[in-house]
């Protein structure tokens, strides 16, 4: 369980977000520049909020009142970057093992499980430059989960992929979340992705949470926003 309640002043507006993420996929949805990535960077510890708190289970990552700001290495939060950020000077296997502190039998088993689940058994000795977009995404996912995180942050994980890979990987992401059973916090500006992946969608507009969709958003019979409602953001 992840609880986030933070404020951070950005150049054009003040970001203010408050949400609780159970062990499901929470989608932060909004247009480019609305502060989505900033939220992920604050959770990961790469940025410091101005005030508020970030708590994961019993660990306080950040608290302005208690003056706590844990560095990223102590948070056990994996982050899948938009361009995957795979280390170009290491092969696939070394990338995946980077986050493992001490190699063990369990780590070996996890590695085998991950490369099988993500269908990358044939890639371990390839260099990163030899991978396709979809393969890079899978390797980045394996590397992130190999570190055995408490939380996984995904920044536009499918945006760099073609339509076919996107559909395939959407299903894999859902499956992985069910298996790992940790909070996945996913950022996207794609309505399709938000609807397909999110157990809960948080709408963001200029750093503010929009809890009640404005009347201009169309709603379907279940009270859920339809695709056209997302036009609000464009």
């Amino acid at each position: 369980m992840l609880t986030v309640d933070i404020k951070k002043k950005l150049s054009d507006f003040t970001l203010h977000i408050s949400f609780t993420a159970p062990n499901k996929t929470i989608v932060l949805f909004g247009p480019s520049g609305c502060g989505k990535t900033t939220i992920l960077r604050c959770i990961a510890g790469l940025l410091k909020p101005d005030e508020g708190s970030i708590v994961s289970n019993d660990t306080t990552f950040y608290s302005s009142t208690k003056a706590i700001h844990l560095p990223p290495k102590k948070r056990n939060v994996s982050y899948m970057f938009q361009d995957f950020a795979l280390f170009p000077h290491m092969n696939v296997k070394h990338n995946i093992w980077y986050g493992v502190k001490t190699p063990s039998q369990e780590a070996n088993e996890l590695y085998e499980k991950l490369i099988t689940l993500l269908k990358i058994e044939h890639l371990p000795h390839r260099s990163i430059s030899q991978l396709s977009g979809g393969e890079k995404q899978r390797v980045a996912m394996a590397r992130a989960l190999m570190a055995e995180p408490q939380i996984l942050l995904l920044d536009e994980p499918l945006s760099a992929l073609d339509a076919q890979s996107r559909y395939e990987l959407q299903d894999e992401l859902k499956k992985l979340q069910e298996i790992w059973n940790i909070p996945f916090v996913l950022v996207t500006h794609s309505p399709e992705e938000a609807q397909a992946l999110g157990s809960e969608v948080i709408f963001l507009h200029q750093g503010q949470q929009v809890s009640e969709p404005p009347p201009s958003w169309n709603m379907n019979g279940n009270g859920k926003t339809t695709r056209s409602s997302f036009q609000y953001f464009y």
């Binding site: 990223p72 948070r75 056990n76 950020a85 795979l86 980077y98 430059s129 570190a147």
Partner: protein
Amino acid sequence: MVEWQPVILSIKVASISVLFVFFLGVLSAYVMRSTDIPGKAALESFFTLPLVLPPVVIGFLLLILVGKQGPIGILLTKYFDIQIIFTQSAAVLAGTVVSFPLMYQSTKAAFEGIDKTLEDAARTLGASEWRVFWTVTVPLSWPGLVSGLVLSFARTLGEFGATIMIAGNIPGKTQTIPLAIYFATESNDLVTAGMYVIIISVITFSIIFGLNHWKGKNITLQ
């Protein structure tokens, strides 16, 4: 008659200097990149100063600092019974100071060229700053670091002004190739001077050629 001692000494001095320059250059570039200390711009200018000041001015300043009556010279004599002036250590010191900006600038440019997201990725995978530095920052900036090392080595090999000010010209002790060329020419021994010119030209050309070849290969591989 060509003596090999200045050639050997020049290579020795340049080799030791680049060791110091490597650590000082990398450390300074890293600190300047990762901290936001007050007076950073002034410090940056100070680090580049040896590149723009005439080497003889650097030699003069070093003489004031580490000479027998200089503040550092007095301390070294008093506490360690060491005298730097007119020794090979002085030649190393001169070489280190004049070539430092080349290493610093090359390293700084190499660090700036790294995608910071890769370092952030390493941090979120639980790596300490030390591990991020050695496993991500250094390997990715390696071509720039090697360029800095090679240029520093070549610069130290050709160092004259600062070296003569603090190491002097003691044949067999502190006489490097550039000094040997100067004093052979002054004694009208143009054959010896010419031989040294050929030797230093061949060495520096080989180094730069080797670097360009390595870089070309590296870029092709990438």
